[in-house]
Each structure stands twice: as structure tokens, then as C-alpha cells.
């Protein structure tokens, strides 16, 4: 017998309609030394001109420069889908001669966004919560080195548990393909050696088709992405106008996957994983922050560390049990203590009785 058509197969399109109406927001933070092409890359990624008027400091002014955090919000629209994009830039990172702790403003900023969201969420009127939390951090690694530098390692270790880190190798038109491969391997090894958690792509389900799986593995293998950015559009000598860089020895095409990984990065960031980045921020990093906050409030001075309850990507499903398990453990511990004390009391009573009995016996 034919199953009658109920109609909930239209749910995805309903979700689609609603989300289009609501619009999306995404906050991207870029960090790295000056001159690595951060602004150019951001402009290329979103095909906009965010940084048309900015002032680049002289070397002398930079000797004792401190880090500042700038926010730039734009609304972009494509085929009816509106995205409110916020780019958080960190000019001055690693520019001064003495860069000790130059990343603390960044860590503080990320925490502040979490704190603000936490407070809004616990407030009475929750209709218009502004989500300013940082969804993704693009970290630029210099191609002129042999891997990660001490300042990179320190910075990443300070923020890797607060935000999704996507490392990219900047200005990779300075590296031949073999050098790119070596550097990527080096960076991967060093990330593992120092125990830095970066954003992991979700494993694709086993029932996806082969092509998708291949793409997925190719994507994971080319981590970290080696990118080139460009603001100039080349119109002559090419089939179609495209972004690129013109050199006397050739033309680097930003969109060409054999020249650099820019296309992969753009696809990953915008086309396929934007929502996943937001989800991981909400479910993992924000929940970690929230749990830590609450524990600090309720158990100030206790010796327990919040890291025991740290959530990793795999345990998202057990999320709801975590706070309950906590209180249950407390209760259990208290019960045990009570029992122990009762036992001790009993023993003491027995002893007293015994000694009394002995005395009466002897008397």
C-alpha cells in the first residue's frame, strides 16, 4: 500500500525560508604580523573593499606599538541571502621590539564577547541578542621562516581553547610547490608537537558519495592553506578578468587551485563550513566558557579544575548530562561522608560500651 504523503519533507525548505528572512551573521578575526597580507586577503575573500583608507605606521612609530582591536562590519548580500559580516582586525600584533604578552588584548576581547553573550542569555529580554562572539580566527604564518615562530606558538596556545583557529600560510607566492609542501608538513608537525588545537573539519558521513569524500580528504590534507591575496583585477592577456598579481616572469592567479589554496579556503570558510564554525563556537567554546564561569561563581576557592569537564567535539551529544553529573557527584560524595561519620560514631560507641562492660566485669 502506498504510504500517504504527510508533508514534512518540506521542513528543510521552511528552515531555508526562515533563515533567509532572519539573515546570518559571522564574525571573523584575523591575526598575524604586519605585512603578511591580511587585509588584502580579507578583501579578496569577500570581494569587497574594506581597507581602502587605512594608515600604515612607520617603522619608528612601531617600535613600541601596542596592539589594538578594530572592528569593521559590512552587510553583504548574494541571491537574497544577507550576511552581516564583522571583521575583527588586530593591527600591531608582533610589531614592537618587545612583544611579550602582546596577545593578551586579543584573549581578553574574545572573553569579553563570550561574557556579554552569557549575560544577554541570562537576561530577561532575550529577543534581540547580538551575537558578537568570534566564530573563526584566521592566523597568518609568515612564509619566510622554517615553520612556526615562538610568538606564533605562544599566541596560539593562549587562544586555542577559546576560538576556532584556521592557520594559513600567507604570501605563498614566495614558495615553490616543493617548499610549500615542506612548510605545511613542518607547520602540522609543530602544531601537534606543541599541543595546539585547531579547527578540525567534521568527518563526513559514510553515506556521502565518493566525490564528496575525496574532496573532504583533499581538503584535510592541504591544511594549513597556502594563500595569496590580491586586490587588483587583471584584464589584459587573460580569458576573463580575474584577481591576480602580475610579475615580470608570469601572472599569479588567485583563483587557480594549482597556484594557491585560496579557492579551497574560500569554499571552506564560506560555502561549506560557515555554519559549522558557528555551531562549534556555540556548542564547544561558548559552553566551555559558560561552564567555567558558573563553576567559578559557585565553587570559588574549590580545588576542582574546570578542565575535567572540558568538552571536546566528540562529546557534544553528552552535553546535557554534564551539568547534572556534576551535582550528582556532589550528592554522592556528601552521602559517603555522612556514612563514614556514622560508622565512626558507631565504633566509638562500641568502644565506650566495651570499656564500660569491662569495667563492670572486673568490678
Amino acid at each position: 500500500m502506498d504510504k500517504e504523503y504527510v508533508g514534512f519533507a518540506t521542513l528543510p525548505s521552511q528552515v531555508h525560508r526562515k533563515s533567509v528572512k532572519r539573515g546570518f551573521d559571522f564574525t571573523l578575526m584575523v591575526a598575524g604580523e604586519s605585512g603578511l597580507g591580511k587585509s588584502t586577503l580579507v578583501d579578496s575573500l569577500f570581494l569587497t573593499d574594506l581597507y581602502s583608507e587605512r594608515k600604515i605606521l612607520n617603522a619608528e612609530e612601531r617600535i613600541s606599538q601596542t596592539l589594538e582591536i578594530t572592528r569593521n562590519a559590512v552587510e553583504i548580500e548574494e541571491r537574497g541571502v544577507k550576511v552581516k559580516l564583522t571583521i575583527v582586525d588586530t593591527p600591531g600584533f608582533g610589531d614592537a621590539v618587545d612583544n611579550a604578552d602582546c596577545w593578551t588584548p586579543i584573549a581578553r576581547y574574545i572573553n569579553e564577547q563570550f561574557e556579554q553573550y552569557f549575560r544577554d542569555e541570562s537576561g530577561l529580554n532575550r529577543k534581540n541578542i547580538q551575537d558578537n562572539r568570534v566564530h573563526c580566527l584566521l592566523y597568518f604564518i609568515s612564509p619566510c621562516g622554517h615553520g612556526l615562530r615562538p610568538i606564533d606558538v605562544e599566541f596560539l596556545k593562549a587562544v586555542h581553547d577559546k576560538v576556532n583557529i584556521v592557520p594559513v600560510i600567507a604570501k605563498s607566492d614566495t614558495l615553490t610547490p616543493r617548499e610549500v609542501k615542506n612548510l605545511k608538513q613542518r607547520v602540522r608537525d609543530e602544531i601537534e608537537e606543541f599541543g595546539i588545537t585547531i579547527y578540525q573539519f567534521p568527518d563526513c558521513d559514510s553515506d556521502e558519495d565518493e566525490e564528496f569524500k575525496q574532496q573532504d580528504t583533499a581538503l584535510k590534507d592541504s591544511f594549513p592553506f597556502a594563500v595569496i591575496g590580491s586586490n587588483t583585477v587583471i584584464r589584459e592577456n587573460v580569458e576573463r578578468p580575474m584577481r591576480g598579481r602580475v610579475y615580470p616572469w608570469g601572472v599569479v592567479e588567485v583563483d587557480n587551485p594549482s597556484h594557491c589554496d585560496f579557492v579551497k579556503l574560500r569554499n571552506m570558510l564560506i560555502q561549506t563550513h560557515m555554519q559549522d564554525l558557528k555551531d562549534v563556537t556555540q556548542e564547544v567554546h561558548y559552553e566551555n566558557y559558560r561552564a567555567q564561569c558558573i563553576q567559578n561563581l559557585s565553587r570559588s576557592g574549590a580545588k576542582e579544575r574546570a578542565s575535567r569537564n572540558k568538552i571536546s567535539r566528540q562529546s557534544i551529544t553528552e552535553l546535557s548530562l554534564v551539568p547534572l553529573a556534576d551535582t550528582e557527584k556532589l550528592i554522592r560524595e556528601k552521602d559517603e561522608e555522612l556514612r563514614r561519620m556514622q560508622e565512626m560514631l558507631q565504633k566509638m560507641q562500641q568502644q565506650m560500651q566495651q570499656s564500660q562492660g569491662e569495667q563492670s566485669d572486673t568490678l
Partner: protein, 480 residues
């Protein structure tokens, strides 16, 4: 004086004379050349730049050879310099080349002290040369001149401007060594960006008063080329040791998917210019500048520091020897004075410690006496107590004996009584548990008493004999 007269006359009478024929002293330069070729040349290059910026590769490319080099790690604690000396030969000219590498430059998080090891190294080389010069028996021509002739400063290709570390370091080095700034890895900057970048760098250097090496324009042979090269500073270079086939020949180049960067192609990068300037044209001038300008400056500062002056307050030229003698006497005087002081201090200290030790010895003796006395006191007391105890024991024994005899008498007297009285006795004996020893002995006495007849008439005798005591009824009542 005679010396000054001769000087004045030679100054006035320099005339130009023309020669009648060919004398042959125009071969002087050739003699000089052949002598220096026989001697060999030496050249010292210092490469300053961040790790991984291409210093070693550029050296390999410049000298068309491979100097062995391990890749440096980023995690050094500080900056240190690594000098390496190589012997090169081209045609019949020997070159002793020393390349000094800065390892760990720009890697630390706090780079405020990064320039110090470099400045110290340069100063040490100057110091060594100065010491050699001041020696009595010196071998200036044979010694290996390690002073740095040229510093190649590698600028990272950010495209914006100099980094703050670059500015600070170059300012510290510009008065000690010839600096030529180079833009490294220039294949990442396009032509228009490069032009702007170069202008920005030069303007920053000028506005901060950093003096870089200018190619000399006073010698007509090279003035033109040098002047044009000066306009191209800083050179944007690309280094490579790999060869790529371009056209139909192998050239040193870097192969990219989008093209091939040829190292020796003038339109691709300024490598050829750098090689020309550094090696082919101005090497000797660099050495001269190092000796005449930077070394002299160092020497002057150092000697002034030591107290030497060129002229007296009376503006008579000072003889170095006299100053030296004076200084030496002063120094010896100081030394002796210090020795005296130290000896004095030593003697004082010895006296002090001796006194202390004597004190301590006395104290120890006192203590020992005291302890001995206490010990004897205690011994006496213990003896007394023992005697007391013995007396008590004796008294007790006598009492015991007396009590026993009394008991024996009373038992005898009570031997005719029925058994239940014994039981009473036993009960009462039991309840008075405390006198254990007495108890057992009284039991024995009672047992004895039951069996032995009472054979004492008066109570006094009964006291002496315990058996009679126990049997005597009257005494029994009273006793228990």
C-alpha cells in the same frame, strides 16, 4: 728646531717636474698588484636577518658554491653569531672569505637585546686588531684580518616599510660597519609595489639618520656605474642554487607554476647589480672604508677612553710612550696599594677568628665543669635515695616477719573452730583483694594453722610465732 724647519721647507718646495724619458716607475701599481695577489685577499661578510629569510641561499648564489649549512631553528634563546671561514680561488687569486651568520635574530618575543651580540662581535674584531697593532712585536701583514668589511642587512618583503627591529638594529650598526640593505625574497613583490617599497625604506632610513654605505663616486673609472647603483638601493634579490632549463640553457632560477624567476635576469631582480657592486667593483673600497673610517673611529674612542690624548695642554704632541709609562706606573702603584689593603684585611680577619675560637673554647670548658658538677650532685642524690629505700625495705621486712608470726599464733588458736569460719575468712580475704602478697601468705598461714596445734600461751610469744597467732581465736577476731 731642526725637524720643523725641514718640514716647512719641504711643504713650500713641491714642484712638478717633467720627465725626459721613460723611467719605469709606472710599473709600481703592477708591483703592488702582484704582491697582493701573492699575499692573498681576505674579506669578511656579516649577514643579518631573520631566520629563514634566505641568507645562506644568497651567499651560495653569490659565490656560486655551496657553503655547508644546517637550517637554523626558530627557538634559540638569544642571538648568536656563527663565523665560518672558507678559502676560495679564482684564476690565481686567493680569497679567504669569512661569512658570519646571525642565528636566532628576530625570533625572540622580546627583541630589545637582539642587536647586542652583533655589536659586541664587531667590537671584538676591532679590539683584536687594535691589540695586534699595539704590540711590540707585531705581525700585521701576516695576521688574519677578521674585521667585518660589509654587513648585508636582509629586509623582509612586507611591502609596507621597515620593521621596528630593523630600524633599531641598523641605527646601532651604522657607525661600526658598512651596511648595505637588501630586500630578501623579492619574488613576492610586484614591480610597482617594489618601487614604492624602496622609496619608503630609503626615506625612513634618511629620516632616522641611518648611514648606509654609499658606493664611492670619486674615482672616474667607476663613478658612473656607482652613482646609478646608488639610486637602486636597497637591492631586491632572489637567491637560488637550483638550475632550471630556460630556452636551451640551464640557469639558476626558481620554478613556480606560473613562471620561472631567473636569478641573473636584470628585469627579474637586482642580484646581478648586487654582485657587481659587492664583488666586482667595490670590494677593495669596502675594506679601505672599514680600515680608514670605522676602525679609526673605534680606535680613537677606545684610546680616549683609556686616557690618551693627541696633544698636551701646551699643545705639544704627546709621546705615546711617555703616556704609556705614566699609566703603567699609576697602575702598578694602584696594584700595590690594593695588595696592601688585602693583606691587611686578611690579617685582621685571622685575628678576629682566633679570638672567636678562644671564646668558644672557654665556654666549652665552663660548660663541661658545670655538667660534671651536676652529674656528681645527681649521683649523690641517687645514692641517698637508695639508702633510704634500703632502710625502708629492711623496716618492711621486719614488719612482715612480725606480722607473719602474729598470724601464725592466731591461726593456731583458731584451729579448733569449724570449717565455715574458714570460709568466712576466705570470703573476707577475697573481698580485701588489694593486699595481694599478704593474702597468699595468710592463706598459707591458715592452712598451716589448721594442721598445726597452737602451742603458745601468751600473746607476746604468739607474735613471735605466726602459727600460734593464727590459731588463737581472740587474736583472729581482732586481726581480721
Amino acid at each position: 728646531m731642526a725637524a720643523t724647519d725641514i718640514d716647512k721647507s719641504s711643504n713650500e718646495e713641491k714642484r712638478n717636474l717633467s720627465l725626459g724619458g721613460h723611467v719605469g716607475f709606472d710599473s709600481l701599481p703592477d708591483q703592488l698588484v702582484s704582491k697582493s695577489v701573492a699575499q692573498g685577499f681576505c674579506f669578511n661578510i656579516l649577514c643579518v636577518g631573520e631566520t629563514g629569510i634566505g641568507k645562506s641561499t644568497l651567499m651560495n648564489t653569490l659565490f656560486n658554491t655551496t657553503f655547508e649549512n644546517e637550517e637554523a631553528s626558530h627557538y634559540q634563546n638569544g642571538v648568536y653569531l656563527r663565523p665560518r671561514t672558507y678559502d676560495l680561488q679564482e684564476s690565481n687569486v686567493h680569497l679567504k672569505l669569512t661569512i658570519v651568520d646571525t642565528v636566532g635574530f628576530g625570533d625572540q618575543i622580546n627583541k630589545e637585546q637582539s642587536y647586542k651580540p652583533i655589536v659586541d662581535y664587531i667590537d671584538t674584531q676591532f679590539e683584536n686588531y687594535l691589540q695586534e697593532e699595539l704590540k711590540i712585536k707585531r705581525a700585521l701583514f701576516n695576521c688574519h684580518d677578521t674585521r667585518i668589511h660589509i654587513c648585508l642587512y636582509f629586509i623582509a618583503p612586507t611591502g609596507h616599510s621597515l620593521k621596528s627591529l630593523d630600524l633599531v638594529t641598523m641605527k646601532k650598526l651604522d657607525s661600526k660597519v658598512n651596511i648595505i640593505p637588501i630586500i630578501a625574497k623579492a619574488d613576492t613583490i610586484s614591480k610597482s609595489e617594489l618601487h614604492k617599497f624602496k622609496i619608503k625604506i630609503m626615506s625612513e632610513l634618511v629620516s632616522n639618520g641611518v648611514q648606509i654605505y654609499q658606493f664611492p663616486t670619486d674615482d672616474e673609472a667607476v663613478t658612473e656605474i656607482n652613482a646609478s647603483m646608488n639610486a637602486h638601493l636597497p637591492f631586491a634579490v632572489v637567491g637560488s642554487t637550483e638550475e632550471v632549463k630556460v630556452g636551451n640553457k640551464l640557469v639558476r632560477a626558481r620554478q613556480y607554476p606560473w613562471g620561472v624567476v631567473q636569478v641573473e635576469n636584470e628585469s627579474h631582480c637586482d642580484f646581478v647589480k648586487l654582485r657587481e657592486m659587492l664583488i666586482r667593483v667595490n670590494m677593495e673600497d669596502l675594506r679601505e672604508q672599514t680600515h680608514a673610517r670605522h676602525y679609526e673611529l673605534y680606535r680613537r674612542c677606545k684610546l680616549e677612553e683609556m686616557g690618551f690624548k693627541d696633544t698636551d695642554p701646551d699643545s705639544q704632541p704627546f709621546s705615546l710612550q711617555e703616556t704609556y709609562e705614566a699609566k703603567r706606573k699609576e697602575f702598578m702603584g694602584d696594584l700595590q696599594h690594593k695588595e696592601e689593603e688585602m693583606r691587611q684585611m686578611f690579617v685582621n680577619k685571622v685575628k678576629e677568628t682566633e679570638a672567636e675560637l678562644k671564646e668558644k673554647e672557654r665556654e666549652l670548658h665552663d660548660k663541661f665543669e658545670q655538667l660534671k658538677r651536676m652529674h656528681q650532685e645527681e649521683k649523690r642524690k641517687v645514692e641517698e635515695k637508695r639508702r633510704d629505700l634500703e632502710e625502708e625495705m629492711n623496716a618492711f621486712n621486719r614488719r612482715k616477719v612480725a606480722a607473719e608470726t602474729l598470724q601464725a599464733q592466731s591461726l593456731q588458736a583458731a584451729s579448733q573452730q569449724p570449717l565455715k569460719k574458714d570460709k568466712d575468712k576466705k570470703k573476707s580475704v577475697k573481698t580485701e583483694n588489694q593486699s595481694g602478697a599478704n593474702l597468699s601468705s595468710s592463706k598459707v598461714m591458715i592452712a598451716k594453722a589448721n594442721m598445726e596445734p597452737l602451742n603458745c600461751d601468751s600473746w607476746w610469744q604468739a607474735m613471735q610465732c605466726c602459727t600460734c597467732l593464727v590459731k588463737n581465736a581472740a587474736w583472729r577476731e581482732g586481726f581480721f
